[in-house]
């Protein structure tokens, strides 16, 4: 029972997904019968199958050498914040500022950080955004 074993965790995750989808299907939607199935039957069938796969994965993980789980919260966190920030700023202010935020925030995840370079990247991307808007006809809320 090793919580740092990738294969074992994977099995648990699959079982959890199956339980969530299957549980909702069983409790909230009509199942009907096979010949006239309701909206809940098919998701329930698929989640049961997924649950079985999850169980098999857990069983299998006992026979296979454990693979350590490695992850870093920092990078994925920074990227998610910059995406959400981009969307929020584009919504409430405008997309040009959104692009600047995206560049300055996301590059925190890189190996090196340089203000001058970020200004250059931002200018380049803003130019691309203008090209998209005026040449390809995308309606971007740039300003």
């Amino acid at each position: 029972m090793n919580l740092n074993n990738r294969n074992f965790i994977r099995g648990l995750c699959l079982m959890a997904i199956a339980l969530v989808f299957g549980g909702v299907a069983y409790n909230n939607y009509t199942l009907g019968e096979l010949s006239r199935s309701g909206p809940g039957l098919f998701p329930l069938l698929v989640s049961s199958f997924l649950f079985v796969i999850g169980v098999l994965t857990v069983v299998r993980s006992h026979f296979v050498d454990p693979v350590p789980l490695d992850y870093s919260v920092k990078n994925i966190g920074i990227i998610l914040v910059s995406l959400v920030g981009f969307s929020l700023i584009s919504h409430f202010v405008n997309m040009i500022l959104g692009i600047v935020f995206l560049v300055f925030c996301s590059t925190l995840a890189g190996t090196s950080y340089s203000l001058v370079r970020n200004v250059k990247i931002s200018l380049g991307l803003i130019a691309v955004a203008f090209a998209f808007k005026h040449l390809l006809g995308l309606s971007l809320p740039l300003y």
Binding site: N7, G38, F63, L80, S87, I99, I121
Partner: protein, 526 residues
């Protein structure tokens, strides 16, 4: 004769100035983006799909197809010059990179280009003769047969893309469940929408694709922190005549293997490359040199890659079922344009079908005359450091998601799937089967419900119909074979423990040679 007539009809449609432009643009942009680390054909297509929305149907499909094979060529270029493997170019890393080490980069790139051309040409002959015939077969399919075919597709894709049946199948099922989100077509019930209005139409395909392939890959590359050394060597493209002669037999062999494997469910470029490489190892005149950087090791797999990429359009256009994740994306693009791929497509939209077939060949010519000579300039993309590149990739992901519905809310969905995709990556779960499951899920449900309705709730319908019984039989054989392999390994190992999970790792094995050896023997054993 009819085929020639049809092809002429297709060329008539493809050879307009506009369509030629779209084709060239698709090939070029596809190659450029395909070159970037971590962006294979799947992410390239999903990134560029939104750009085609404003283009007329015929041009859009031609451009998308161009993007697809452009991306594949770009992939093999980065594999040959810098040993950056994508799922679609693992084999090119072996001999291609060895050739680079020997200073024969130009020859390797030329070989890959010419072999792709040969592979593509053979595949187009197969496509134009087989697709209409298979379309007739498509009419024989009932709901139960469709179900069985899709299930077989899941099994095969799981097996090919992640090497382990269990992992891939799990992802396909997760994809099917995600496909259930939205309004149920039969009863109008909103399922799994959490009362969020924008989920009523289901989750956007592009959000899933860009999240799992674009954003998750970017974060993975950032986690790795290894700095790429850009390729700085000289490139001398033109081969000598004896070298050129060595390309042909290997490329032809690869083309045939690729064309056949491209049609099968779950088939496509990946498996075709391994099979062609294995075949070259056994049959080639220069088999003793393969693995050390010889022409045959590059030519066969490149031809198979290209041929399979083309013929994998056959099941999509003839039966209406995409056989792998890339084709699933293509199908989404068709549907956006208001065309339902399937047995009726060739009849109702002959201009599109034959135009696409013809444009494939034109795309091949573009690859040959544009990309092969210009490749040294493309490679300068790598002189841009990743720190500059990844904000741009993120930006394109955002624009891609936004431009589908002009809705900033979709970016949140993409971010959520970026996170989920990252988790899956870290848990070693391949996202390609998920995408296929997501697209096939609603079709699977509809056909399953229809089959059950027609058979009054009896599962016998799956066994009584010859087509579905055969397909399910194949699934049974696959499952039994996998179980036997696992148990055998378990019994053979002294402490009843399996030490290296080499099947699951084969997709990203550090030593592609080992991966090729295992998968190659798998492919030839089939």
């Amino acid at each position: 004769m009819e085929v020639l007539h049809n092809l002429a009809f297709g060329f008539e449609h493809a050879l307009t100035l506009q369509n030629l432009m779209y084709c060239a643009l698709g090939c070029t942009v596809g190659t450029l983006i395909g070159l970037l680390p971590g962006l294979g054909p799947l992410s390239t297509i999903s990134l560029l799909l939104p750009l085609t929305y404003s283009i007329p149907t015929g041009g859009a499909l031609i451009m998308l197809a161009g993007i697809y094979y452009g991306a594949q060529y770009g992939d093999s270029v980065s594999a040959i010059t810098m040993k950056i493997p994508h799922a679609s170019s693992i084999v090119a890393c072996i001999d291609g990179y060895q050739m680079t080490l020997k200073g024969k980069t130009g020859l390797a790139l030329f070989t890959a280009g010419v072999s792709s051309f040969i592979g593509g040409t053979v595949a187009i002959v197969v496509l134009s003769t087989m697709a209409p015939a298979l379309g007739e077969v498509g009419f024989l399919f009932g709901p139960a047969d469709y179900c069985a075919l899709m299930l077989l597709g899941f099994f095969c894709v799981s097996f090919v893309s992640s090497g382990s049946l269990l992992n891939g199948l799990a992802m396909a099922m997760v994809g099917v469940l995600l496909g259930m989100v939205g309004t149920d077509v039969n009863s109008g019930t909103a399922r799994y929408t959490m009362d969020l209005p924008f989920l009523m139409d289901g989750i956007g395909l592009i959000s899933i694709a860009l999240g799992c392939f674009g954003i998750a890959e970017v974060v993975k590359n950032l986690d790795n922190k290894n700095v790429l050394t850009p390729f700085n060597g000289k490139i001398k493209l033109m081969p000598t005549w004896p070298e050129f002669k060595r390309i042909i037999p290997s490329a032809l062999r690869g083309s045939v293997i690729g064309s056949v494997l491209g049609i099968l469910p779950g088939g496509g470029p990946t498996i075709a490359q391994f099979a062609a490489y294995a075949a070259d190892k056994k049959l080639s005149k220069y088999k003793h040199e393969i693995g050390t950087g010889c022409i045959e090791g590059v030519a066969g797999q490149a031809a198979a890659d290209e041929a399979a990429a083309r013929t994998s359009f056959i099941p999509l256009m003839a039966i209406g079922i995409p056989e792998n994740a890339v084709m699933a994306l293509m199908m989404a693009a068709f549907v956006v344009k208001g065309i339902q791929p399937g047995p009726n497509m060739i009849g109702t939209h002959p201009d599109l079908f034959w135009g696409l077939v013809a444009s494939m060949w034109i795309g091949n010519c573009f690859l040959l005359v544009l990309n092969v000579p210009l490749v040294r300039y493309w490679l300068s993309v790598f002189k841009i450091p990743y720190t500059v590149l990844f904000p741009a990739i993120l930006f394109f992901c955002c624009i891609g998601t936004y431009s589908i519905n002009n809705s900033l809310d979709d970016i949140y969905t993409t971010a959520v799937f970026g996170f989920i995709g990252y988790l899956f990556l870290r848990l070693d779960m391949e996202a390609a089967p998920l995408l296929l499951g997501f697209i096939l899920g609603p079709m699977l449900e509809e056909n399953f419900r229809r089959a059950m309705l027609l058979s009054r709730g009896s599962f016998n319908v799956f066994v009584n119909r010859p087509i579905s019984a055969t397909l399910l039989g194949v699934i049974g054989v696959l499952v039994v074979w996998q179980t036997v392999v696992f148990i055998r390994k378990l019994i053979k190992s002294p402490d009843h423990h399996i030490h290296s999970d080499n099947q699951g790792e084969s997709a990203k094995a550090p030593t592609p040679v080992a991966a090729a050896a295992t998968s190659g023997s798998l492919a030839s054993g089939e």
